[in-house]
């Protein structure tokens, strides 16, 4: 029963995506909508990304210092471990899990409300491909913005690590800088961006699917928002395993 329902849901998702990835009816309106979504989904997410990344960077630095302090361990390891955690997992996967909550629920509730208030029917009656009009700009906008958010997150995390070193004196900036530069591989930044692009697609498409297929009223919209965040998170974690395996080999 569960498997049959999952296959049916996946089939409905694929059919919706076929309608989403069609040629927009008006390039001008598509650009206008995409710019609006860049602000709503991308620019508006910058403060939370900076805030969380800053504090997580600081906390990782403290934890590393406290847990791996050893006479045999070089001091720069703290900076090295902080960089690796921020680059490889936090700024892509964990940040996207946070965005799944913020952006995903926003998308589901917006499109779901449009569905239950007949705004999507109004678009269809006008002869507009509503799936393309509503979902494609969101997917495009978040995919375009996610590399910037990843870079901001990495930078904020490292600034957080420096800040905790400076304010508490647990590390000297030189030790931290040494660790941050130790065996640095540029490919890790690309890995982080590539993973985040896949996660951005998951967040926007899955959240839109839940919103677009809502039936009922406000309670169902709320339920769809919750379901969409849960599904996005699970899919991001699953995709993280696959992508990490593929990219880090």
């Amino acid at each position: 029963m569960f498997i049959a329902k999952s296959i049916k849901t996946f089939g409905s998702y694929l059919l919706l995506m076929r309608r989403v990835f069609a040629r927009p009816e008006s390039g001008r309106i598509f650009m206008r909508q995409t710019m609006r979504e860049i602000f709503q989904l991308g620019i508006d997410s910058i403060p939370i990304v900076l805030l969380i990344s800053f504090f997580i960077g600081a906390v990782i630095c403290i934890q590393m210092k406290l847990n791996i302090e050893n006479a045999w361990m070089p001091k720069f390891v703290v900076g090295y471990a902080t960089r690796e955690i921020m680059l490889l997992e936090f700024s892509s996967s964990i940040m996207c899990l946070i965005l799944a909550g913020k952006v995903g629920s926003n998308i589901t509730s917006e499109i779901g409300t449009m569905r239950v208030t007949q705004q999507i029917d109004a678009l269809e009656i006008m002869g507009v491909n509503s799936a393309n009009f509503l979902i494609m700009p969101k997917v495009t906008a978040l995919i375009a913005m996610i590399p910037i958010l990843v870079i901001f997150s990495i930078v904020a995390g490292i600034v957080g690590a420096y800040a905790i070193g400076f304010f508490t004196g647990i590390m000297t900036p030189d030790d931290l800088t040494c660790g941050l530069q130790y065996e640095f591989q540029q490919w890790y930044i690309w890995c982080s961006i590539i993973k985040a692009i896949f996660f951005a697609y998951i967040i926007t498409s899955v959240a839109s699917f839940y919103g677009y297929t809502v039936e009922g009223g406000s309670i169902e919209v709320g339920k769809a928002s919750t379901d969409s965040v849960v599904s996005c998170s699970a899919l991001i974690l699953f995709a993280d395993i696959v992508l990490t395996q593929l990219l880090m080999q």
């Binding site: 449009m114 705004q119 029917d121 269809e124 009656i125 006008m126 002869g127």
Partner: protein, 250 residues
């Protein structure tokens, strides 16, 4: 002109529409009336193409919309305007942007021409002063008027209204009814209105279909409706105490 022939629609084992046939003429306001659950909304959705009936034909000036491919259906929809029960204005846009939207999407006119057309439509529904407001700042009646302006922006040949007076007071309902009726006559549009508002029936019912149990139980106009001996229709019409008293006095 819209013609429906032998429309049959069912959900699971429940038949909602059974062999419905009717003709809706240009320049006439046709009303579909009936109790809640009689199948009015399903019939309207079958006509506009939001639902596909199991059997039957929906002919738009002789063209069977049910055999259209996706592209033809989209082109047909550009000839339609629809007023929804909830007005369905786009929350993220101002009133003017709502009316401009179909023009921006499909019109080849310049920006100034599109703006002029949108303002003309808003003026037609007496809402030009509210053009910069957002939909949530408008009253229910104003939202319906804005939705009418948006529906007529592309000069549609067919206008559909689903419960246009739902949630409105009798005076505002009258304004909306007269607006729909006036536009229908002025632009010679084929208009179909789904309603259970008796004021609308008596004001603008050029052609009335009474649905009961998924079938057409009675067909006529506003002059005939009070003289019918159809028991189901009379029960429906005189379910209001006021109407019963007025009919009793007469």
């Amino acid at each position: 002109m819209i013609e429906i022939q032998n429309i049959h629609k069912q959900f699971g084992t429940q038949t909602v529409l059974n062999n419905i046939s009717a003709t809706f003429e240009e320049g006439q306001t046709s009303l579909i009336i009936g109790q809640s659950g009689a199948g009015k909304t399903v019939l309207l959705k079958c006509i506009v193409g939001l639902l596909d009936p199991e059997k039957g034909k929906v002919l738009y000036d002789g063209r069977n919309a049910l055999t259209f491919n996706k592209k033809e259906r989209h082109l047909l929809r550009r000839e339609m305007g629809m007023l929804f029960q909830s007005a369905a204005l786009f929350d993220s846009m101002s009133v003017l942007e709502n009316v401009m939207f179909p023009l921006d999407m499909f019109s080849t006119k310049t920006y100034n021409e599109r703006l002029k057309r949108a303002r003309f439509c808003l003026e037609r529904v007496n809402l030009l002063d509210a053009q910069d407001k957002s939909p949530e700042e408008l009253s229910g009646g104003m939202q319906k008027r804005a939705a009418i302006a948006r529906a007529i922006a592309l000069e549609p040949r067919y206008l559909f209204c689903d419960e246009p007076n739902s949630g409105l007071d009798p005076k505002t309902s009258l304004i909306i009814d007269e607006l729909i009726h006036g536009i229908t006559k002025e632009y010679n549009i084929t208009t179909i209105v789904n309603t259970h508002d008796m004021n609308s029936v008596m004001n603008i019912g050029d052609h009335i279909l009474f649905l009961a149990g998924g079938e057409i139980s009675w067909e006529g106009n506003k002059d005939d409706i009070l003289h019918t001996d159809n028991k189901l229709l009379n029960d429906f019409l005189f379910s209001s105490e006021i109407l019963r008293r007025v009919a009793g006095e007469k």
